[in-house]
Amino acid sequence: MPISGLVIAVPPGREADVAEMAAALPGLEVTETGNGVLIATLDTPSVKEDKAANQRLAEVPGVLAVSVAFTSVEDCAGNGRS
């Protein structure tokens, strides 16, 4: 069950309304707002849903870019140890 920390770029001044739209996505929580930037966490049941949520987030009006700053996948099989 991946947990990601996201940096979402938005046009300065639009933070509040984009945050409202983004928060409607399941698993997404906006924790902080900066100038032109939203900090959010994304908590989804699977990698596939994590990717799908990322994609839907990128299509929210006002979202300029989404950067994944952090991902923990520690409770999933095959977590990349090699």
Binding site: I3, A40, L64, A69
Partner: protein, 778 residues
């Protein structure tokens, strides 16, 4: 996983993201690029800014140089035009400098053979021939034909040499074939050239209307800005008024497919609808608009043809309203083939005071036998509704070439023009130029001599006996090309060509000068939104290549006009030519920024007054020339109390429409991958391989009747010539039934053997979009 651990991880995730946001991200710009890749710290490649070499958008490029060669480019994130995005041509700029057959040595025709010669000899020969020809046959027997791809410095050197030195108005540029209708349209409507808006309009408009231009392929980066606007503002609409379905149509919400030439009727019908619905912005019209009409049945400028001329007259609003009477929706539908409901819907968007509308156009309206008129008619709609000179609300005439604005229009490299928007016909304008140039009163001839088509008619008929062609390829681009080629072959004028690669034009030259291109010399361009952009010399040109302006100055010196050009080195010339040109622009509403400011900036939009750009002209608060309390002032029309003009321009047919012998419309244009005649872009492997050869687009039903599928050879025949092209059916673009289209980038398929040199009698710009052909299956 336990809930408390899950919560802990989420806290870490948020903290980490916040740390990354604080330290790693550069402030994202409007297109969302956030990258802290530090080009300027690159130890191996030196990166410098320059505008793109290609279209009138004027994208900013970072040019990467290593070991004296351009090895890469990147979209310039700092340039507000494109914010880091380019189109496929822009991304392939490094390739255009290095074709294996790059011209590097002067070539001269001796005893029918082309041989190499030294620069000194070539320049001596050119100067001697021009001098002796002008002395024997008069100054109007020599000519200079330049380009909207000339830098500002080149155009200024050329116009000073011809008008102050040789004392002829025989200077023209290929922008006559590209933007002349836009220029005369502007001057007739506003008294001054060039758009009142800027690219900021793309982030503010609600409706974007394309009037006969394929913006997705021709100004792709600007079109992407419109698409971005629409993605973020879901109510935005894109309207495509066109004669064929293109990539622009794919992105549009409303498509009006019209019969060629009927755009005149559609525009008048929209104006009539606005008037009938009572949606005229009466306050704006009362304060800022005058009404006029001009002669009609003005002909098409054909050899041996005729047409009315005469003075323009002011009329009343009531007379204008009566003029609009016949342009009902039903009439517009009949003439254009566009369903009245669609025209009415579009008219409704123009009429809605809450909707901000941007009209955009390029060659469809300018390369038109009534090009000036259709430009006026689109301005009419914006003037009647007061939708002009405001963010996202106004008409925007897009420029095709990178410096048709900066050079041809602002420097005035046309037969009737002088720098700073002045004209040879006005004594006070001539006097100002003669004084600034330090030449005697009476030096500049007071009458225009030859516009481009007249210039080439003069060459083919023997009146013009010497011509210097720079940065353009008329043996591919002249309409009814063979007529000119044949006449030139008979009269054999002395022809000098400055270019970078061999072309069909260098093939007829007597002297060929290798020329420095783009970042091989320091110079400036001016783009569609009045943004003047400067770049430095970044690499050396090959062999004996020199800038066009340097070549002109060398010839001028040899002819005795050295005093006009006191700058010795290339660097001095680059700065000196610009700074002298700048003098002509100050105080007349065209103020260019200082050269040093342009060196630092990603360009600046004129008028630049007290260091501040102007984004929307003629509007109070945006334009420093508009006084407080005026609201709007169209100060190019002082005689009309600073009012813009709404023109009564009727629908009139084209010079050659399809008939039973030649039943198809023939339309021409460009494609995304290639620039103009392909001399640069075809030499880039990726661009050639993406679009290797010309083709003719045919509507599927027409193709079926003809019995052809994609790839079959088709012969196109007009009254002037014939050409075989492979068919493209249901490919990238689909013409309307009864119309075929071919691009002009392929020098092995000169489509201009088919076209006609009919032109707008006011602007003298030929109509490349319309003539009549028949099709035969080969």
């Amino acid at each position: 996983m336990k809930e408390s651990r899950r919560q802990f991880i989420k806290t870490m995730a948020a903290a980490w993201a916040a740390a990354v946001a604080g330290q790693a991200l550069v402030e994202p710009n409007a297109l969302g690029r956030s990258i802290n890749e530090d080009l300027l710290a690159d130890p191996q490649v030196t990166w410098s800014k320059a505008p793109c070499r290609f279209c009138g958008t004027g994208c900013g490029v970072m040019v990467g140089v290593r070991d004296g060669k351009v090895v890469a480019v990147a979209g310039d994130l700092e340039n507000p035009v494109n914010r880091g995005l380019l189109c496929v041509k822009g991304y392939h700029l490094p390739g255009i400098l290095y074709g294996a057959d790059r011209l590097t040595r002067p070539l001269v025709r001796r005893n029918g053979k082309i041989v190499e010669t030294s620069l000194e000899e070539a320049l001596d020969l050119i100067a001697a021939k021009f001098k002796e020809t002008a002395e024997a046959h008069g100054p109007d027997s020599v000519a200079l034909y330049g380009s909207g791809q000339w830098t500002i410095q080149d155009g200024y050197a050329g116009t000073k040499w011809m008008k102050a030195g040789v004392k002829t108005n025989n200077i023209e540029a290929n922008a006559r074939l590209c933007m002349a209708s836009a220029v005369v349209g502007f001057v007739k409507s506003f008294g001054k050239d060039e758009p009142m808006g800027c690219y900021d309009d793309f982030e503010h408009g609600d409706v974007f209307v394309m009037w006969g231009n394929n913006m997705a392929e021709m100004h792709p980066v600007l079109f992407s800005r419109i698409c971005e606007r629409k993605r973020k503002a879901s109510w935005v609409r894109i309207v495509d008024i066109g004669t064929r379905r293109t990539r622009t149509t794919e992105a549009s919400d409303l498509y009006l497919e019209f019969k060629p030439q009927s755009d005149l009727a559609i525009a008048n019908a929209i104006a009539r609808e606005i008037v009938e619905r009572g949606r005229v912005n009466e306050d704006f019209v009362r304060k800022h608009v005058a009404f006029k009409k001009g002669p009609t049945d003005i002909g098409w400028g054909l050899e041996g043809g005729s047409g009315n001329s005469g003075p323009d007259q002011e009329i009343s609003f009531e007379e204008y309203r009566q003029f609009l009477e016949p342009y009902t929706m039903a009439y517009a539908e009949e003439v254009s083939g566009v369903p009245a409901a669609k025209i009415r819907e579009l008219a409704g968007w123009f009429a809605d005071p809450e909707k901000k509308v941007v009209s955009l156009w390029c060659m469809g309206m300018n390369q038109h036998t009534r090009g000036t008129w259709i430009n006026n008619l689109v301005y009419n709609i914006h003037l009647l509704t007061g939708k002009i000179s405001q963010p996202g609300n106004g008409p925007f005439s897009l420029t095709g070439q990178p410096s048709a604005c900066g050079t041809v229009r602002e420097v005035g490299t046309l037969t009737h023009a002088l720098p700073g928007g002045r004209v040879v016909m006005k004594p006070e304008h001539r006097a100002f130029c003669e004084e600034t140039w330090g030449v005697p009163r009476g030096t500049i001839p007071s009458r225009p001599s030859n516009h481009t088509i007249e210039m080439f008619r003069g060459l083919k008929d023997g009146q013009i006996k010497a011509v210097w062609i720079q940065v353009t390829n008329p043996m591919v681009t002249l309409p009814d090309r063979d007529k000119f080629l044949e006449g030139i072959g008979r009269h054999k004028p002395f022809i000098v060509v400055s270019d970078v690669y061999p072309t069909p034009t260098t093939e007829i030259a007597d002297v060929i000068l290798p020329t420095a291109m783009w970042v091989e010399r320091e110079a400036c361009f001016g783009n569609s939104e009045r943004r003047t952009q400067q770049w430095d010399k970044l690499v050396d040109p090959p062999g004996d290549s020199r800038p066009d302006s340097w070549q002109i100055i060398e010839v001028a010196r040899r002819m005795g006009y050295g005093a006009l050009f006191p700058w010795k080195t290339e660097a001095e010339q680059a700065r000196g030519l610009f700074e002298e040109h700048r003098k002509f622009t100050l105080g007349v509403g065209k103020d260019l920024a200082a050269y040093d400011d342009l060196k630092k900036a990603r360009g600046l939009r004129w008028p630049v007054v007290d260091g501040r750009e102007t984004r929307w002209r003629y509007a109070e608060g945006f334009d420093p020339y508009v006084k407080k309390g005026e609201g709007y002032s169209f100060y190019g029309n002082k005689a009309l109390e600073n009012r813009a003009v709404v023109w009564a321009r009727p629908y009139e047919p084209h010079a050659e429409e399809p008939d039973k012998d030649y039943p198809f419309w023939f339309c021409t244009g460009r494609v995304l991958e290639h620039w103009h005649t392909g001399s640069m872009t075809r030499r880039v492997r990726q661009l050639h391989q993406a679009m290797p050869a010309a083709f003719v687009e045919i509507h599927p039903e027409d193709a079926r009747e003809l019995g052809v599928v994609t790839g079959n050879m088709v012969r196109l025949v007009s009254r002037r010539g014939s050409l075989e092209l492979p068919a493209s059916v249901g490919g990238r673009s689909i013409p309307q039934k009864g119309l075929v289209f071919a691009p002009f980038f392929d020098e092995s398929k000169i489509i201009n053997v088919l076209t006609l040199d009919a032109h707008c009698p006011l602007s003298k710009q030929p109509d490349y979009k319309k003539c009549a052909v028949k099709l035969e299956k080969v």
